[in-house]
Symmetry: C2
Subunit: 180 residues, 2 copies
């Protein structure tokens, strides 16, 4: 959970990062940024900030912000009814993104979240710089992180059903509780 | 049709407009920009420049560039087999875009392409500024244009099958022939 005050501060910081990256957004959009701590209560270490630009029954477009040294936990997008699961292309706009997917263990530049190695099983490292992108097939496990400079990305995908995403860490709750 | 030289010049101009708008693209992407004259041989009046960032069986993401006072002809995205047709959100990044869709005739700020009124039947005007967007349902007829400053937009959509798009103007060929 996070407090209203934490939510407000993280939103402001994320909106600034988005605008500094040259992505134009309205004030209304800036105020709608979702601050996600995955129920782990350590937002600065494990979390993500999400601005949804488009959300229809077929398409989703988001801007994702990682603060410096923040990691988005390992997860995958399962099939839902007729949908084989979310297909997603992540394209970097600012900063470097350290991406981990299935495949040969090439873990080198990334860092492990302290004490959480059992929650991050994918160790195939792909480093993406601005204007580089990766497409993830439905169901493909992945996690990603920013280093000292933080990062801003687009996520272009089929319909997003975030609440149904699955995570390696059993303690995760996708819907962040906001208190006070 | 356009010549190789025209294609090259238009690509360069479009890449510059995209980068000036703050959208980061690779040189390889810049060199892949599609210059489309719709077979009408008046690119500066009726045409569009298209950079495809993502194209899968489910999703398409493009950057569209309109040169000053260029108009993209009226068209729609028909059903294809199981697909009800392309659903598309256009989001403006730079410049103003004059959008025309079905609905009450509110044509006011836009201009008609000289001698082509019979090819532009939609007269419901929606003016979009940077960070504003519109979502078009499958099959919805639309056309759009830039004025003196030109425009850069994102197009986020379900799978694009450009060659199957339908146009009001019977003289249009969607696939531009490049000569010499």
């Amino acid at each position: 959970m996070i407090t209203r005050q934490q939510q407000k501060a993280a939103r402001k910081r994320a909106a600034e990062a988005i605008r500094q990256a040259g992505v134009k957004i309205t004030d209304e959009e800036a105020n709608s940024i979702e601050v996600v701590d995955f129920g782990l209560n350590q937002l600065e270490r494990e979390g993500v900030q999400v601005l949804t630009l488009v959300q229809t029954e077929r398409i989703s477009v988001k801007v994702l912000v990682l603060f410096p040294n923040q990691t988005e936990p390992e997860h995958w997008h399962p099939p839902v009814e007729d949908d084989p699961g979310k297909e997603e292309t992540v394209r970097v706009v600012a900063g470097s993104v350290y991406f981990f997917t299935s495949g040969e263990d090439t873990f080198q530049e990334g860092f492990m979240v302290e004490g959480k190695a059992h929650c991050y099983s994918m160790r195939h490292e792909i480093i993406l710089k601005p204007s580089e992108q990766i497409t993830l097939a439905p169901g493909e496990k992945h996690w990603f992180q920013a280093h000292d400079e933080g990062a801003v990305m687009y996520s272009f995908s089929t319909i997003a059903r975030d609440a149904l995403d699955q995570f390696t860490d059993p303690n995760i709750e996708r819907i962040t509780r906001i208190v006070k």
